[in-house]
Symmetry: C2
Subunit: 453 residues, 2 copies
């Protein structure tokens, strides 16, 4: 990468994403206010040995201008009971929520409260204050250790993190939710600590391969199967990149190479996508010459981290069901809004009436005879003959149309609990242009970039 | 098999196929006449040590009434030159042919003469009189040894041979020509010698398996890969059943089981087949829902034993070409009359415009880059993306229609010399109902029993 150009580009990007002093000051003010509030409420509830802590990117100065997320952890003593933590933690958070614009109780391993507070997206999360990340009692207990490690090592590299995060956002690989399966903020920070700079991280990633192994503390002690392994500096058993999918890993490598070759601002700020019109979509379908089929049902009331793994599972199960009946699946994807839609693109959604059903070799006397008895003179058999040493019955295909298999057999597919029960409540099959009946603009966008995800 | 019923059935069959005394006497008279003629002509040409011999089923009393084939072998001394044998042998045969109704010179390893002589189909074949079948100089030299072996062992079993031959004819597995790939007359005789009777041969065959090994002299000395091995009693290295295909082997087993279960005359005398009308054929095509495609060309002027292996080879090559382009071939077959037609039945004769072209894994840097350079922004690429770690380019299918592949690429298929040159002179592609343009009634019959052979 040419240095001058790159320097200019970096400055331009940082100008847009680096928080200005006032924005910083305001965030700091609100964060301190919330921390103080938690401690005061705990005090008023007569709870001892409780502290509040700002964690996450806000605490590390690695947040991008405009993203106003605050993670406040209420730290309970290690010997507190789980029940106490949940009950008291929630009570404190609820108390603060009283002053919020809106709030919601959410459930991960523990309950926590998410709220809109003076324009900030605030999570107030109870956790145990343990001695080391190795003895955590709940997954969230790890966060304060991550916070500590990053704060200790990131000094002077904050803008490099901003650059890398924004790059990943721009190319669509940022976020470790189960929907995205990309890079988490913590992972991004560790990569910058490892490679020392944005430039270096990008250049190094060009040569990544599945099995790339990064262990800042050289303390990793187990094997991992994921494409990228970044051993958690606070826990030798944990791969920070465990959620990263092979395709997101590859998309990152791919974009790094492109960026090294010709660095531009477009990598950081993807252009807003405008969906194609129905006429354009119809033209595109026609040009492809394939057959689209979709299953739509009411979106179950669960968080995305529960929903998306079940949708991905459903895609696989539905594709397998269709392939089992000789329908060739070219692409598949899922979209979720008010309703949820699984879309499959097939070579053809109808097949010939006739299917060749191959029996046992003629010389396997007993099996051959019973196959023959069953089919040779059956009413719905086209022909019966010997080919390559086995009996063949040409029978009527049970499902010459993909639509009818799905109607009959969809509910027997393995799809995960909530999706399965949503589908059982009712679903619709849309074939070909019928898909365009789904009016949601974001669904149209999903179709416009098909089959990309 | 119940004995009384079977006995009656055998009598009824033999009544129809066993030559009557007058027919036998007439055949004997003509055969003796021809043998004498050969010897006289040889004498008149001043050739010494030449004898003539009637061989084949006529010599062994295993011929079926109405089949008037005579094989007369002119036996030259072992030390004669190949040139002398060919020249003199042909001279003798031509001399006899002068008195024939019609004749034709044919070429196997040696030239020989086939003629219509007083209603008989006569082959006059020169060969070397060698000491044992192990020292034959030409393939035909083996025949006199076969003749000798059968004559010595068949006595009293002649009618059993007639029964087995007629059974094989009736079910369509008789004849070792390369078109049929069935049982030869000699093979049938050896099976009767082995099993002692028609009944026993049929019952034993019900349990045949690929690898069934019959060696009357226990002198076989090499491994054979064919489904049935019958070691030639006159040559330990030779499998008499080498020409028998797996499917004809299986069809025989299958019919033997059916016959044992319910023996009727239908096995011996297949009903004359009447082709379906065009309307019926169209209905049948429609019901199957598949797409037919055919290649027709002028039949090359070669004997069936040359033609059919080339047609079978062509079927395979054409099917492979179509499958290579993602067309799924369900059945294939060939028919030959004035013109020759290869017919293929496809799941579909048109495919979507779009084809997924999978590139190398993204992390194989150099290959991945050159794939990407070639396709990412190419004009005729639908989309370019990463899937399961590899680049995928969705490109326009070069041949969305089976017809166009065949038009473009047929002549590059491996089809054997004469067929290839016939095809290169010109061919026609017929799709769907166009096949019915071929008017020949025997072609219509071929379509009527499709996909049976």
């Amino acid at each position: 990468m040419e240095n001058d150009m790159l320097k200019e580009l970096k400055e331009a990007v940082l100008e847009r994403i680096s928080p200005k002093p006032e924005e910083r000051a305001y965030l700091k003010e609100i964060a301190e206010l919330l921390v103080k509030k938690v401690e005061l409420i705990a005090f008023s509830m007569d709870l001892k040995d409780i502290s509040a802590n700002l964690v996450g990117s806000a605490a590390r100065n690695t947040w991008i201008s405009g993203t106003h997320d605050l993670d406040i952890f209420i730290m309970f003593p290690e010997d507190a009971s789980r029940e106490e933590l949940e009950k008291k933690g929630l009570a404190i958070a609820r108390k603060i929520a009283e002053e919020s614009e809106s709030f919601e109780e959410r459930y991960a391993e523990h309950p926590y409260v998410n709220m809109r507070y003076r324009g900030f997206d605030v999570d107030i999360v109870p956790c145990f204050r343990v001695d080391s990340a190795a003895c955590i009692r709940s997954a969230v207990d790890r966060t304060p250790f991550h916070n500590e490690f990053v704060k200790k090592n990131i000094h002077g590299l904050e803008t490099e993190v901003l650059m890398l995060k924004q790059f990943m956002k721009g190319i669509g690989v940022y976020g470790s939710e189960l929907r995205t399966q990309g890079f988490s903020g913590y992972l991004t920070e560790l990569l910058v600590i490892k490679y020392g700079s944005f430039d270096n991280a990008i250049t190094s990633a060009c040569e990544w391969q599945p099995g790339t192994y990064i262990d800042l503390n050289s303390h990793g002690n187990i094997q991992h199967a994921e494409p990228l392994v970044v051993v958690d500096p606070t826990d030798p058993k944990r791969n920070v990149a465990a959620a990263l999918s092979l395709d997101k890993f590859c998309m990152f490598i791919d974009s790094c190479r492109k960026f090294v070759h010709s660095p531009t601002g477009d990598f950081f700020f993807s252009k807003p996508k405008v969906p194609l019109t129905d006429t354009e979509l119809l033209e595109r379908f026609k040009a492809r010459g394939t057959d689209f089929i979709a299953i739509s049902f009411k979106t179950p009331d669960v968080v995305e981290d529960v929903l998306y793994p079940q949708l991905y599972k459903m895609e696989l199960a539905v594709a397998a069901l269709l392939e089992e009946h000789e329908f060739k699946v070219l692409n598949k994807g899922s979209w979720s809004g008010q309703e949820t839609v699984i879309v499959l693109e097939l070579m053809a959604s109808t097949l010939p009436a006739l299917r060749k059903h191959r029996g046992p070799p003629v010389w396997v006397h007993k099996h051959a005879e019973s196959f023959k008895d069953k089919y040779e003179n059956a009413e719905d058999v086209f022909t019966f003959y010997i080919e390559n040493g086995t009996y063949v019955a040409e029978v009527y295909r049970k499902y010459p149309e993909a639509r009818s298999i799905l109607k009959d057999r969809l509910t027997s597919c393995s799809m995960g609990k909530q999706v399965s029960s949503a589908v059982k409540k009712g679903f619709e099959i849309l074939v070909g242009n019928e898909i365009l009946c789904i009016e949601d603009i974001s669904f149209k966008l999903f179709l416009s970039i098909w089959p990309k995800r």
